[in-house]
């Protein structure tokens, strides 16, 4: 049994990304280097033989997925599981959490100008975000961060794959001193910041 065959068997038996370390556990003979080489070998072979799937890097691991050009055929099959798309509110909250994590609910609502408790709950249920700690602030509010599932869902290898803040509309630095109106804009970070 060649390493590439063992790695292929594992990737085919999994419905979630597997890390190189996960894959290397399958046999004593496998080192992480051997696994990486096997993945490269398989990718080249799938390319060369025109397979309808390929190995993609997601959330720090590897997973076999169909190539995008087959989506039209798969979309019409009921036996192919499809997930419901996220609402614009959910995407807004996710974007804020992704760039500013760890972040509490009050800060998210301040940025959006609307209540977000229901959306946070939905995102937690879909395991796209999770509680990552508590703020030191008043009432020690919960802080949220994104999960590995988040990366998987959007096809990102890591948070580095998020759109770069420089490519998004500019954010002004926060003004010094209390804002003239409500005084409710307590923010810790000044600008849009990058993913941590």
């Amino acid at each position: 049994m060649k390493p590439a065959q063992i790695v292929e068997a594992l990737l085919f038996a999994s419905d979630a990304p597997l890390t190189v370390a996960d894959l290397a556990r399958a046999d004593e003979s496998l080192t992480e280097e051997a696994v990486e080489a096997a993945i490269q070998e398989l990718r080249a072979e799938y390319e060369r033989t025109g397979r309808a799937f390929q190995i993609y890097e997601l959330a720090g691991g590897f997973q076999v997925l169909t190539r995008p050009e087959y989506a039209p055929y798969l979309d019409r099959f009921e036996s192919v599981p499809q997930t419901a798309r996220l609402s614009m509110s959910a995407l807004e909250v996710l974007a804020i959490i992704a760039y500013r994590q760890p972040i509490g609910r009050a800060e998210i609502e301040e940025i959006r100008g609307v209540g977000s408790a229901g959306v946070l709950r939905t995102l937690q249920e879909r395991e796209l975000i999770e509680v990552v700690g508590r703020s030191e602030g008043l009432g020690r509010p919960l802080l949220y961060g994104t999960t590995a599932r988040f990366l998987e869902y959007f096809g990102f290898r890591s948070l580095e794959d998020l759109p770069r803040p420089e490519d998004l509309p500019v954010v002004l630095r926060e003004r010094q001193g209390p804002p003239p109106e409500s005084g409710g804009t307590e923010q810790t970070s000044a600008n849009g910041g990058g993913p941590p």
């Binding site: 169909t66 499809q82 940025i111 100008g113 609307v114 509680v131 509309p169 003004r175 804009t185």
Partner: protein, 279 residues
Amino acid sequence: MARVDAGDGGFVVELEQFQGPLDLLLHLIREQDIDIFDIPIAEITAQFLRAIEGVEALGLDRAGEFLELAATLIRIKVQLLLPRRVDEETGEWEDPRAELVRRLLEYEHFREAARRLAEAEAERARHFGRGFVQARPPKPVAAPLELSWDDLWAAIQRLAERTRKPAEHRVTRPVVSIQEKMALILEKLMELAQVEFFQLVRPFGDRVHAVVTLLAGLELTRQRYVLLRQREPFAPLWLYRRTQGERGGTRALEAPPAALAGGHAAPNGKAVNETGADR
């Protein structure tokens, strides 16, 4: 509902399509190619107020969010009518719009990030993983459980946070409509010739009531039933009854001396401004 044909602006918005007040405001600004660093507040405020007519239909929580921004816009508009305040240290004018601009740009930043995420989501959805992975009979033994008291305690805290909030909302946010508040103001002004704004709000002690009462006052001003006057920002806001005869004219009955000039600066140098009459 909440569909607006702006007679002058000529554009139409559907309130439901917006994520919230900042989204709507940003739309009004970007749609008309307005310089975000020099927003014509009076014009934008008028458009915003027109756009949120019928906002109550969205339900109270969402309506309150739109009304809150409406109140902020009105306050900025009032501040802009005052003589400019200059920062002692920098010698620069403190633009009352600055904080709003910062918030709008920050929101726009994340709104765009959300749109990029939607694109990534759509692209990712074109890839399918293995739907059926039962290569061999599934293992009956479940993985050992990893569980700590910290996990449980985090759940308890979350539960506490969630179970506390709705109760507050239920108690402190009864349904408020502009019509109701207009009736309240007119009723008060049957007894009294003038009434101070917070006397109308205090019994309810809630921000939503304050905002809705203010909007009701503005509406009555527009319809020339009352006059709304404030000596300076943060000074008490007074509502004055107008008589039938005066409704044709513009002069207020029993307006305070400082307001008689009708301009924005009174002879004594104190700023006076008139709120309302947005159109």
